[in-house]
Amino acid sequence: MTPGFARRRAAIVGVAFGVLFTATPARGQSGLESVIQQFSGATIQGYIQPLADALVANLSIGYINSTIPGRKLSISVELIGMTAAVDDAMRVYSAATPTGFQPATIDAPTIFGGPATEVQHSSIPGLSYRPSDGLVDAEYFPTFGPQIRVGGLLGTEVVLRYASSSMVPVLKEEDFPDLTLLGIGLQHSLTQYIKGLPLELSIGGSFNSIKFGDIVDLSSTSYGINVGKSFGLFGVSGGVQSDGGTMNLTYDSTDPNGAGDVDVDIDVKRALRFRVGASLSLAFLRLFGDAAFGGVTSYAAGLRFGF
């Protein structure tokens, strides 16, 4: 492992909510920026789509940590970690080679796909093409962040999630472009309107935004319905939610087939996921977690301090 790589990984670990992109010390351009610029606006989607999918899957969970919002005013600080499972379908995509090249398409690594291989032109010796490596080698793609929860607002809980790379003093701006995570979630009790239900019923939703440098700007929304039941210290919940979002990329492409300014939206198609969660309350501490199953499976675990 090179010292540069070790520094990069240290920087990565230092970002508590870790969208984990390499940075090159004293050069001011991250690995992510460097690789994205090799793609035109028409060819970037296959490489970056799995990252958008994983981020939306991560950011859409971790907001619910009780079966139902409490009726008493409460405030708490939480640390939350989410991780999306990276399956094989997220590692390879069918990439178009430059116009006229044969074969016209090849299997190329996505951002999660590992090393790429050079492809020879099928009939013109001397011509070859190579896609770029996948940047991230991961079975799970994590995201972390702190959040503040205020409850007891007419049966509603409000959660504010915020983190910025500027909050991590060991990171220098020239090494690690600004990364900002912002999220807001709501959970509202329906049980207060419907008496006699055997389970506790609530609706919830969230808006999330994550920006990385000047090139990545992802936003997502999620909404759903939840049922839950408390058993003393323990609580379990489940529900269905709809998640979707858009990743906007703005960069200067060096692809000869599409060089110049690129401003492209990568759509994360809205899809239903089923969520299950559990919590364990211990005085002023609460350990909670949930998982959402669908096109992308993601898990969240958190620790709440407060009353």
Binding site: T2, F5, R8, R9, I12, V13, G18, L20, T22, T24, R27, Q29, S30, G31, E33, S34, V35, Q38, G81, T83, P98, T99, G100, F101, G114, P115, A116, E118, H121, I124, P125, G126, L127, S128, Y129, R130, P131, S132, D133, G134, L135, V136, D137, A138, E139, Y140, F141, P142, L233, T254, D255, P256, A259, L280, L282, A283, L285, L287, A301, L303
Partner: protein
């Protein structure tokens, strides 16, 4: 009991954090196939001449690869594109693109021929609409130069089927990649 549960919960949380970190790393080395930029030039054809030898240009490393990359070894020639500008009724009979580290050490990269009008539409090795032939020695030379981030001298010449008119020029563009780490 409560204290024990709390301790267990915290240990579980820390263990999950460690698991998440251990399942994640950056590809090392992370190799980007960098599109080399600006390996292109426009060569003017002198009116009245039958052979054209408009000269050579030199592309320095700073012209074609950003300083934020370290070459990791390996490169690819993807395509060579030729485009003629201006009106001319004749043909290009022996277009030649040579490449090297200096004007004293040139290898032929591509030869081409065809009607001048056909080349008004960009012609490339990949499209193969006209006669363009790749020379392996030139490919090897080009790859060696870009892998060593050396200056690249590109010379261009050829012959026409009749004397050139005014306002004629030829654009040459080389699409190559070098494998590099950011």
């Amino acid at each position: 009991m409560l204290a024990r549960l709390t301790k267990t919960a915290l240990v579980a949380l820390v263990a999950m954090s460690g698991l998440g970190a251990s399942c994640f790393s950056i590809t090392d080395p992370f190799v980007v196939a960098v599109n080399l930029k600006d390996i292109k030039a426009t060569y003017n054809v002198t009116p009245g001449t039958v052979t054209f030898d408009p000269g050579c240009i030199t592309k320095n490393p700073a012209d074609y690869i950003g300083s934020n990359f370290d070459v990791a070894g390996g490169g690819q020639l993807v395509d060579v594109i030729v485009k003629s500008n201006g009106t001319f009724a004749g043909n290009i009979t022996s277009g030649q693109i040579r490449i090297g580290g200096s004007t004293q050490a040139l290898q032929t990269l591509v030869t081409y021929s065809g009607s001048w009008a056909a080349f008004n539409t960009p012609q490339s090795l990949l499209q193969r609409n006209t006669t363009m032939t790749l020379n392996q020695a030139g490919v090897t030379t080009l790859k060696s130069l870009i892998q060593n981030t050396s200056p690249i001298v590109i010379c261009h010449g050829g012959a026409l089927s009749q004397a050139a008119g005014t306002g004629m020029s030829i654009d040459l563009s080389i699409f190559a990649q070098v494998n590099a780490t950011p």
